[in-house]
């Protein structure tokens, strides 16, 4: 089976802390792959290294066999990325951002215009044409980010928390888009900490904790008979506290 994304021994050290520690992962082509993990587990760091946004201290990543760090230009043509919490060209409107990035990617002018119009309409951003990105809400920024990721029709999407701060209606739209993308032969890697969403959307998952993969496989394999949430809690070894103490909260 062809691999859409292959992470090999990725390592990143920030000061004393090994944020990602010899992390290896294989995402088969045409799969919808969820990366789960508690806050600070190294999800964002791993995905940044996987697509060429953050240089690893060790290991590498391959997108459809192309080494991201040896041949970034070819690799970046194959992937669309939605990073979490990064800026945008703030002084452009949504349509202008898409036009600008599409032209930079070498798409013909009329094609860029067509795709931008369609993406904005589907994502319900087409009424905001006089608004600069700096005035966008968090959810709107996410949707525009997704449009940027899709614009050049990549074979792989890498999405960091694509559903965070997105309203339910838009979330449903995004789910539909992603399903269509998979049906059309694409592959998706998505990080999230919303278990229900991952359970519902993904066919494969990996659980990351302390910068390592602690479990990976099909959803059924990782669930091991229980719910994904139970499996997750037992895998990352977190105790569910919050019931005891905090007596001063009672009125």
């Amino acid at each position: 089976m062809e691999e859409a994304l292959e992470l090999v021994g990725l390592t990143k050290v920030f000061g004393e802390q090994r944020a990602v520690d010899d992390l290896s992962l294989t995402v088969p082509a045409r799969s919808f792959f969820g990366v789960l993990g508690p806050n600070g587990a190294g999800k964002t760091t791993s995905l940044s290294m996987a697509v060429g946004l953050l240089r690893p201290d060790g290991g590498t990543a391959r997108i459809f066999g192309v080494d991201v760090w040896r041949d970034p230009t070819r690799a970046k043509a194959l992937v669309g990325v939605l990073p979490d919490g990064l800026g945008m060209p703030e002084r452009l409107t949504g349509r202008e951002v898409l036009t600008y990035l599409g032209l930079l990617r070498g798409l013909p002018e009329d094609e860029v215009a067509r795709r931008a119009a369609e993406l904005l309409e589907v994502l319900e951003l087409d009424h905001e044409d006089d608004k600069q990105v700096i005035g966008y809400s968090t959810g709107m920024r996410k949707k525009l980010g997704l449009a940027v990721a899709l614009l050049h029709a990549p074979r792989l999407l890498v999405l960091d928390e694509p559903f965070e701060a997105v309203d339910p209606v838009s979330a449903a739209t995004i789910r539909t888009i992603l399903h269509r993308f998979i049906a059309g032969g694409g592959s998706v890697v998505m990080s999230s900490h919303v278990m229900a969403l991952v359970e519902q959307l993904c066919d494969r998952v990996a659980v990351v904790a302390d910068g390592k993969v602690v479990a990976a496989g099909t959803v059924a394999e990782v669930q091991a008979g229980g719910s994904l949430e139970d499996a997750f809690v037992s895998l990352v070894g977190a105790s569910t506290r919050g019931a005891e103490g905090l007596t001063w909260l009672s009125h």
Partner: protein, 611 residues
């Protein structure tokens, strides 16, 4: 009740600020800025006390006015003043606005700058000359300090409000440029207005300004005129209260206002990648008020700087307004990637776009500053009627434009200063992060570097006249091409590192790595090296290069603060050479200290340290 709450709030805010200050000291960069700044401040405060000791009240009044001006103008250039504690942090606390602003004010007193100003203000005690006057001096100097601080905060707040609308941004830029040009060339205006008693007029003005009220009180106490003492002190109190109220009102506005971009007038209509990159960059200049503000500031500064001497009929500086504007523009806009923040990821993820992006930024710079400075140069040189100036300015201008367009992108890539992302910024448009010191350092270095790019063409023009022009054009094109290429290659090779820097700032670990060798040096050598790098420009440029140019161009009217021009005959050249040697040695000492420290760093190479 209200007083108790204010006290408790102030106490907590002071503790927060001190805690942040302590953490700041862990950071080598911040520490070196704090130490350097503290050192310079102490020297200035010492100078003020020395002046007070000499007993010349008139001079002291003027010096105190300069201190206040420093408090008001300083933050406008250094990222909106100290904002360790941003008002936005506290919006959700159930505190009345005035309690919060009083607390923030008290917290603002707990810093290096207020302590230094306090030392300088002790000069009021020094000049008091009697027990009664000394007793008056104590409240007077405390009130004076409070007014300095409040004036500073209020200026930042007013400025912040202005910067939210286009017209305001332009007005603020003009005022700002006028003030800064005035500090250098204001003598001409003053000489023009008061041709007889310059110092006396200065001193009278400085006593009328609020910065002189403390001194007025102390002097009145010395003469036993208690009514005047009371009036002066009461004036300070009233002023402080009024400024506090105004500041609280503006704080409320700041923390409750919304921040959206204005409406868009013209949609992007480029057809190619390169065109799109250029169109995007131009929109930063036309839509981002801070960009527009900087552009107006740079051009206005050049104009004011060279036109103020007109007040005494001196036209010989007119031709240089255009070149001065370009130098200022280059140094004000040398952090393009830092200003765009993490939006850089879009360039990084678009294969092959770094060259287009760099060249687009260069084109936008040239488009904004090229035609305007050329027009200014042509008009003002014609106006000056100085025919000998034509080949000089027409050689220098293209060299400077190309040099600035090249250096701006190279500096933006190699020495990016991380700022807070635009969509996460606070309500203070001047405050774009917490790296004011670094930003200021780059402004100074770029002033020198950009100015230096016209040296070959200018020297040639001085000796051969019009031959300087083609050389200027050639050197401009070369600098534009070469530095742009260097910047684009660097983006290709180290783009991810730049993004990491913009995203997370410099991590303590990286800083430790960066400065390990330097830290191993004795403290006095580190301080001395920092001082040399920071101030080497003063002997080298204003005291050597500029007077040399004046002498070569036959300008004998302007002496200003150019030490050499106050000497006789051959001594002028001797002073110029000595100053140049001093400046260059300072740079050499500082640079070599850094270089060897990095070479000897535990993990090795200079390349790592430079990265």
């Amino acid at each position: 009740m209200a007083l108790a709450l204010t006290y408790a709030t102030s106490r907590t805010l002071v503790r927060m600020r001190l805690a942040a200050f302590r953490h700041g000291l862990d950071d080598q960069f911040r520490r070196s800025w704090i130490v350097t700044g503290g050192f310079v401040g102490l020297a200035l405060a010492g100078g003020t006390l020395w002046l007070a000791g000499r007993g010349d009240h008139d001079v002291l009044a003027v010096v105190l006015a300069v201190w206040m001006l420093g408090w008001v103008v300083g933050p406008l250039f250094a990222g909106g003043g100290d904002e360790t504690l941003k008002p936005e942090y506290f919006t959700m606390l159930p505190l009345p606005p005035r309690t919060l602003s009083a607390g923030l004010l008290v917290a603002a007193l707990a810093g290096v700058a207020p302590v230094i100003s306090l030392i300088a203000l002790l000069s009021l005690v020094v000049v008091s000359g009697g027990v009664a006057a000394a007793l008056v001096a104590v409240p007077a100097l405390l009130l004076q300090l409070l007014c300095f601080l409040l004036a500073s905060r209020l200026a930042v707040a007013v400025y912040g409000v202005l910067l939210q609308v286009r017209a305001g941004a332009v007005i603020a830029a003009l005022v700002n440029a006028f003030i800064l040009a005035f500090t250098a060339q204001g003598w001409a205006l003053i000489v023009a207005f008061v041709s007889t008693d310059v110092q006396g007029a200065f001193a009278t003005g400085a006593r009328i300004a609020p910065s002189g009220w403390g001194l007025v009180a102390v002097e009145a106490a010395g003469r036993g005129e208690w009514l005047e003492v009371l009036a002066a002190l009461a004036g300070l109190v009233v002023l402080a209260v009024v400024m506090l109220l105004a500041w609280s009102a503006l704080l409320v506005r700041r923390t409750t206002g919304s921040r959206t971009g204005g409406t868009v007038r013209r949609q992007l209509s480029a057809r190619t990648g390169a065109g799109a990159a250029g169109a995007k960059e131009l929109r930063s200049w036309t839509r981002d008020l801070l960009y527009g503000h900087r552009a107006v500031f740079a051009v206005a500064y050049g104009l004011f700087f060279c036109m103020m001497p007109l007040a005494i009929g001196m036209k010989s500086m007119l031709p240089w307004a255009g070149p001065a504007a370009v130098v200022m523009a280059g140094s004000m806009t040398a952090n393009l990637y830092g200003a765009d923040g993490t939006a850089f990821w879009t360039t990084l993820m678009t294969p092959g776009s770094s060259r287009a992006d760099v060249r687009a930024r260069q084109r936008a710079f040239l488009l904004v500053f090229g035609p305007s400075t050329l027009l200014i140069t042509l008009l003002l040189t014609w106006w000056s009627g100085d025919t000998r100036a034509w080949p000089l300015v027409l050689s220098a201008l293209p060299a400077l434009l190309g040099g600035a367009a090249g250096l701006v992108v190279a500096c933006s890539v190699y020495a990016a200063v991380p700022t807070t992302d635009a969509h996460k910024r606070s309500g203070n448009p001047l405050n774009s992060g917490e790296n004011e010191g670094e930003t200021m350092g780059i402004v100074y270095v770029m002033l020198v570097l950009v100015a230096a790019t016209c040296a070959p063409a200018l020297i040639l023009a001085l000796y051969t006249g019009w031959w300087g022009v083609p050389v200027g054009v050639l050197s401009g094109v070369l600098a534009w091409w070469y530095f742009g290429r260097v910047a684009a290659r660097r983006l290709d090779a180290r783009g991810p590192e730049l993004l990491t820097l913009l995203r997370h700032g410099r991590s303590p670990a990286e800083q430790a790595k960066k400065t390990a060798g330097f830290d191993a040096l004795p403290k006095w050598r580190r301080t001395l090296a920092g001082f040399c790098l920071g101030f080497g420009a003063i002997p080298l440029f204003p005291q050597a290069v500029v007077p040399a140019i004046f002498k070569l161009t036959g300008n004998h009217d302007t002496k200003s603060w150019f030490l050499a021009l106050y000497q006789d005959g051959p001594w002028q050249w001797i002073v110029i050479v000595l100053m140049a040697v001093l400046g260059l040695s300072m740079y050499a000492y500082g640079g070599l200290t850094y270089y060897y420290a990095k070479k000897n760093a535990p993990d090795g190479s200079v390349a790592v340290a430079a990265g």
